[in-house]
Structures are given as structure tokens and as C-alpha cells.
């Protein structure tokens, strides 16, 4: 009960934040992208955390979502909200298609096969110029602001939509984690043979997780497209800009937990910004270098993510309480 109250308080506090930030300003944009990346990492977390399949190709589904809604909007004038649903369906389908050949791959093989799939999608987007605009990218046209058209002049509504997306994806993650599927995924992660023997259909559960994760991240691709307004194949299908980054966010925060991706996003995204702000004009490469050093330090300090700080804190508290 107390936990629910605390959670509600945090959500309300975060919900108030956009009101305090300049709606045309910089921090609300950073805030919006932080929320979006938190939601993306959370969607990744369903596969990467609960099923323990470290996908490095989630940009594939993300890009499908961004392109689907934007192409539907540009070619047929379909609202991005509907485009988002279509993108989610396609993203889920793509996740299914790639999950079938890669599912029995273990660990690093899975990671690298998914990475290759992300690249396949990037090349296709680059080549299929008639549909995607090719390497020149796509701009989301600016139409009069309205919720139905998913178009706003200011960033505040985008921030709220991103927040809502994060809450929804986190809720889905929690429902899965606490529900039958969560138990099954944890069982598969820890001992697939034992899971099978006690009746877990490991193939089916893994496919379900892959499809849900792929569909969610594709839908988030639409949100990203609407906020960023312009994107090209490298932006939404990028290995470094999307695939690795969202996995990194979840891992730095603490993989497999609902709080992990959120902690990770609120660390990584603002850190990148602060580094860029403070150091990028001093010497080329310096800001990225310092970012890399911080990243390494954090991984050495907390190989299982920030979330473990709370665990050890709690352990220390209970120990001192006991003594």
C-alpha cells in the first residue's frame, strides 16, 4: 500500500515537471527524450531483462514504427495515432519473423544475429527510396496543432505523451513480470530444461515476449518521429544511436527490473547532454571521451546496474536495524 502511494507521488511529481519547464525550451526536450528512451529501454527489457535475450537489433522494430506512421501520414494523410497502431503491428510481425530463426541462438550469437537484422533493416530503408525517401530522410510535415493529428507547436504535450507512454510500457512490463508470463520467462532464463519439464512451453513464451517487445518499441518509434520531426535511416535504425543505446540504458540502470530502464535513462540521456554542453566546444571528442570513461567506471562499480545501489542500501539498513 505504502509502495503504491510512493509510486503515485513520484508519477504526480514527474507529471508536474513539464509545467515548470519552459515549453519552448531545451530541458523539456531533454526531458521528453529521456522519457521516450526510458520507455524504449523498458520495452527492450521485456526481452532483454525478463527473457535474458540481449537483443542488439531493436532499432529494426523502432525504425519500422517511425517509418510506418510517417509514410502513412505523408502518402495517405493518416493520423500518426493510427499509424502508430499499424507500426506496432508491423513491428510485432518483424519481431516474430526474426525471432523464429534466432530463438535457439544462445547469448552472444543471439546478440550478434539481432544486430545484423538491425543492419538489414537500415540497408533496406536506405535503398527503398521510393517509400522511405532513402538516405535523405523524412520530415514529418507541420500541420495545425491538434491532438487528433498528433501535432503540437510546443513540446509540453509531447512530454505528457512520452510520460504516458512510459507509464503504459512500464505497466505492461510489470503486468508481464508479475503474471504467469513473467514467472515463465524467469524460469526459462534460469534453467530452460527445468522450465520445459515442469510444463513451460519455452518456444511460445519467448516468441510472445519478442512480439510484445517489438510491437511496443515500434509504437514508440512513432512518438520519436513525431517529436524529432526529421529522421533518416541512420537515426532510427542506427546501431549506436538506438540499438546499443537502449540496451545500455537498461543495463546501466538494472536489467529485468521496472525501475532499471528509468534510472538508466535519467542517467544516460542527461549525462550525454551535460557532457555535450560543458565539453563539446573545448575540444573535439572530449565530451564523448569523458562519457565513455564515466560509462566504464559505472560498469566497473555496478556491473548489475544502478538498481543494486538500492539493494545494498536496503541490506545495510536492515543489517544495522537488526544489530
Amino acid at each position: 500500500m505504502k509502495r503504491w502511494l510512493a509510486l503515485a507521488a513520484v508519477i504526480v511529481a514527474v507529471a508536474l515537471l513539464p509545467l515548470l519547464l519552459d515549453p519552448r525550451g531545451y530541458w523539456i526536450r531533454v526531458f521528453t527524450f529521456t522519457l521516450l528512451f526510458a520507455a524504449m529501454a523498458q520495452a527492450w527489457n521485456i526481452v532483454g531483462g525478463l527473457a535474458n535475450q540481449t537483443s542488439l537489433g531493436h532499432a529494426a522494430f523502432f525504425g519500422i514504427g517511425a517509418y510506418t506512421s510517417t509514410v502513412l501520414l505523408l502518402k495517405f494523410g493518416i493520423s500518426p495515432w493510427l499509424g502508430m497502431l499499424a507500426g506496432g503491428a508491423l513491428g510485432g510481425l518483424a519481431a516474430l519473423v526474426i525471432a523464429i530463426p534466432t530463438m535457439r541462438l544462445q547469448g552472444h550469437y543471439f546478440a550478434l544475429a539481432t544486430l545484423a537484422f538491425g543492419e538489414v533493416m537500415r540497408v533496406i530503408a536506405n535503398v527503398w527510396t521510393s517509400l522511405t525517401g532513402g538516405p535523405g530522410g523524412l520530415s514529418v510535415p507541420f500541420v495545425p496543432p491538434s491532438l487528433a493529428a498528433y501535432s503540437f507547436k510546443l513540446l509540453r504535450p509531447h512530454a505528457y505523451i512520452a510520460l504516458a507512454a512510459l507509464v503504459v510500457v512500464t505497466a505492461i512490463f510489470e503486468i508481464i513480470r508479475r503474471g504467469a508470463m513473467g514467472y515463465r520467462l524467469r524460469a526459462i532464463k534460469q534453467n530452460p530444461a527445468a522450465a520445459e519439464v515442469i510444463g513451460v512451453d519455452t518456444t511460445r513464451v519467448k516468441l510472445q515476449a519478442a512480439v510484445i517487445s517489438g510491437a511496443l518499441i515500434a509504437m514508440l518509434g512513432t512518438l520519436y518521429a513525431q517529436v524529432a520531426v526529421f529522421f533518416d535511416p541512420d537515426t532510427v535504425f542506427g546501431i549506436a544511436s538506438i540499438s546499443i543505446r537502449i540496451a545500455l540504458i537498461a543495463i546501466i540502470g538494472g536489467v529485468g527490473t521496472a525501475a532499471g530502464p528509468i534510472l538508466g535513462a535519467f542517467f544516460i540521456i542527461p549525462l550525454e547532454e551535460v557532457m555535450n554542453d560543458l565539453l563539446s566546444s573545448r575540444a573535439a571528442g572530449l565530451s564523448q571521451l569523458v562519457f565513455g570513461v564515466i560509462l566504464i567506471s559505472v560498469i566497473l562499480w555496478r556491473p548489475r546496474g544502478f538498481i543494486t545501489v538500492f539493494d545494498s542500501l536496503r541490506a545495510r539498513l536492515s543489517r544495522s536495524g537488526a544489530s
Binding site: 519552448r24 531545451y26 532513402g134 544511436s241 555535450n276 573535439a284 571528442g285
Partner: protein
């Protein structure tokens, strides 16, 4: 221009090292001049300073810094009571979304008169989505067609569009060949599959079609290709009389070297980028001699100005440095004209007026004038040719510094 365009570069490594170290120690705003009485004019400079395009970003920044320093040393902008130019430099990285965020940050943190950037077309487009909504003028030398093709009011493109450049690349070549008594009937196009490569290839194709010339090979190849042998094998079999490679430095060296290895001597006419930087000659030595390339401006059009760049940075003023210098020159002239550093006043002053003099002498038209869409209508591409470690403007005739050499 675009994703991969030319880069300046080079040579003096020790100097680069030293300046790097100095920059590290210095404060972020090295150029903000000391105690000016009038409020400084803030100009955002957003360039890719890390990642694959860092080279171009740094060249561009160098050009801008040179001009800003000169203006500030000369007493700033008299019309604003000697206001100094305060460059606020930031790294656009290689991700458009980040570039947009950086633009938002600069605009939010300080009152910006204008933003300059960002060399790579996709980054420029992303920045323009922010500057347009905040009514801040954005001056650029990126040359994707989309930049001025979206009906935006606050974007100003000082060079010709990619499709125009591509078309010129073909047409100038045909003219040069004709002047030498040769006739081109079959050509080959090869380009990297970036916004820059594809857009320029479109122009080339259009030019060839208009001239009824057969394109016997038309191949895009992936950015970052590490082996061009398949391309050259194909070229060898195509029977083309001239090849138009639109590529980056690495690819340009690979392409020319592999052609030499396979004893293919047909003329190669580069699409700027890798073909117009000092490293091209450094990498190829004698094989660079007489290689032609299209370009959007060249330092030999205003040698007395561009020598100052060579003196300060140790390499010739590559075109993105020159064109960004022109961007700042035009901006300052607009500020003087508006007698205001307010973004909307400056934007109004930029529209329609004709700017001449100063660094603008380095542009082909000798002047800059933006049309409704923000495109500089006076800029035309030019053809350069490598002559003993320098690139010389050889076409069009009226601005050529030397006659073109054509060997087929």
C-alpha cells in the same frame, strides 16, 4: 552539401596537436572577446565535432572562427556600438535528433541572433526544425535539395543545391571535353548511398539524360565501403568514356588507385567531397594530377582572403570553411543593415537583399542573394582540377584561373 563532403585537412600534425591541447585548456568560449561595452551578438555554431564527420565540422568551425576573430579585432560591429561576435560552439554529434536538441539548448540558454551549421544535410535539417519554430535564422552550406524545399522562412542556403551541382558536374565535363575536341557518349556514375551521394547522382543522371548521353553504369555503394574492386571491375566492363564518382576521401582514393591498378585511364570527374581536399593529393601523389572535380567554391577565387586561413591553420581553405566564412559574413552584413541583433530583424534583412564584398568574393557569383525559399540564387558550381598539389578553378570560363586539361 552533405553528409560527406569535403574536408580540409591536414598536414601539420604537431600544430593540430598543440591547438587541440590549447583548446582543452581554454575556456569554452575562446572567442568571446574581452570586455566589449555593447552586448555581444550571440551566434550559435553547431557542427559535428565528433563521430565520422568531425573533420568537416572542425574545418567549418575554423572558417567561422577566422572571420569572427577578424571582425572582433577590427572593433566589432560598429552599427551596434562595437558589439563583438560571441560564437557559441556545440557538437552536433552524428545524430540528427541530438543536433536538434543542441540547437534547442543554444537557443534557450542565450539570445541567439542566428545559428550556423551543420555541414551534414541531415543534421542541418534537424536543426532547422527547431530554428524554424523559434524564428531564428539558420545559415548553412549543406546542399541537400530538401533544405530549402520545405517552404521554411528562416533557413538560408548559400550554395547551389545538390541536384544542380550534380547536373553541373556532367554539363561542365561535357563542355570541357567538347572544347578539347572530344565527344562523350557513355558515362558511368558511382556514388555512396548517402543523402549527398544520391542527390548529386540524381543531378548527374538528369544532366546526362538532357544531353542524350547513355549512362552505362549507375551504381550506389554502401557508405564506408572497404573494397571498391567490384565497382572498378564493373566499370571496366561498362565501356564508359568518363566516370563520375561521388564519394568520400577513403572511397575516392580506393577508386582512383584501383582504376590505376587495372590500367583504366578514362577521366574521373569527382563530386567534390573527397576530391577537393589536400589529403586527396597526399594519398595519390602524381596520380592526383589533372583529376577534375565539381565544387561549390574555391579558395583561388579570393586568394588574398583565403591565404589568411592557410596562415592560421596550415592548410588551404577548403570549401566548407570558405562557405561557412561566407555565412558569417552575410550574417554580419545583415546585422549591420538591420542595425539590430534581434533574430527576426536579421532574418528580414537577410531576405531578398544582395550581399557583396568581403568574404563573399570567394563565392562564384561574387554576391549572395536569397530567394523566397532561402536559396542563394547567385551561386553556381565550378570545376576544379588538380595541378601540382593545388586545386585550380578551370570552369566556367568566366571565372577560370587556368584552362582545363582533358585527356581521354
Amino acid at each position: 552539401m552533405s553528409k560527406h563532403h569535403s574536408l580540409g585537412s591536414t598536414g601539420v600534425n604537431r600544430r593540430a596537436l598543440l591547438s587541440g591541447t590549447a583548446a582543452l585548456l581554454a575556456s569554452p568560449f575562446v572567442l568571446s572577446s574581452a570586455r566589449a561595452e555593447a552586448a555581444p551578438v550571440n551566434v550559435g555554431v553547431i557542427m559535428p565535432l565528433s563521430g565520422p564527420n568531425a573533420q568537416f565540422g572542425i574545418n567549418s568551425r575554423n572558417g567561422i572562427e577566422l572571420v569572427a576573430d577578424e571582425i572582433n579585432t577590427a572593433g566589432g560591429i560598429a552599427e551596434l556600438g562595437g558589439a563583438k561576435i560571441n560564437l557559441v560552439v556545440a557538437d552536433a554529434t552524428s545524430t540528427p535528433t541530438t543536433a536538434g536538441t543542441v540547437a534547442q539548448r543554444l537557443i534557450t540558454q542565450q539570445d541567439m541572433t542566428a545559428v550556423l551549421g551543420a555541414f551534414v544535410s541531415s543534421l542541418t535539417i534537424a536543426i532547422s526544425e527547431v530554428t524554424e519554430r523559434r524564428d531564428i535564422p539558420l545559415l548553412t552550406m549543406s546542399f541537400a535539395d530538401q533544405i530549402t524545399g520545405r517552404g521554411y522562412k528562416n533557413i538560408f542556403q548559400v550554395v547551389a543545391k545538390a541536384s544542380v551541382i550534380g547536373k553541373a558536374q556532367f554539363e561542365y565535363t561535357a563542355a570541357i571535353a567538347q572544347a578539347a575536341g572530344a565527344k562523350i557518349e557513355k558515362i558511368a556514375i558511382m556514388y555512396e548511398d548517402t543523402a549527398y551521394g544520391t542527390a548529386q547522382a540524381n543531378g548527374l543522371r538528369a544532366g546526362a539524360k538532357a544531353a542524350n548521353v547513355e549512362v552505362v553504369m549507375d551504381d550506389a555503394y554502401p557508405l564506408g565501403i572497404t573494397d571498391t574492386t567490384p565497382l572498378i571491375n564493373k566499370l571496366r566492363g561498362s565501356g564508359a568514356q568518363a566516370v563520375f564518382p561521388v564519394s568520400y576521401l577513403n572511397d575516392s582514393l580506393l577508386i582512383i588507385r584501383t582504376m590505376r591498378q587495372q590500367k583504366l585511364t578514362i577521366p574521373a570527374i569527382g563530386g567534390a567531397a573527397g576530391y577537393v581536399i589536400p589529403d586527396f593529393e597526399k594519398g595519390l601523389g602524381e596520380f592526383a594530377e589533372n583529376v577534375l572535380s565539381i565544387d561549390t567554391s574555391n579558395y583561388d577565387l579570393a586568394p588574398q582572403l583565403t591565404e589568411r586561413f592557410r596562415k592560421r591553420f596550415g592548410y588551404f581553405m577548403v570549401h566548407e570553411a570558405l562557405e561557412h566564412a561566407v555565412c558569417l559574413e552575410v550574417l554580419v552584413q545583415a546585422i549591420r543593415k538591420a542595425k539590430s541583433a534581434k533574430a527576426e530583424d536579421v532574418a528580414a534583412a537577410l531576405r531578398g537583399a544582395k550581399f557583396t564584398g568581403g568574404w563573399i568574393n570567394g563565392m562564384t557569383g561574387g554576391a549572395v542573394q536569397f530567394d523566397q525559399t532561402g536559396l542563394n540564387v547567385l551561386s553556381v558550381p565550378l570545376m576544379v582540377q588538380w595541378r601540382a598539389k593545388d586545386i585550380v578553378t578551370v570552369w566556367p570560363k568566366d571565372i577560370a584561373k587556368s584552362a582545363p586539361v582533358w585527356r581521354s
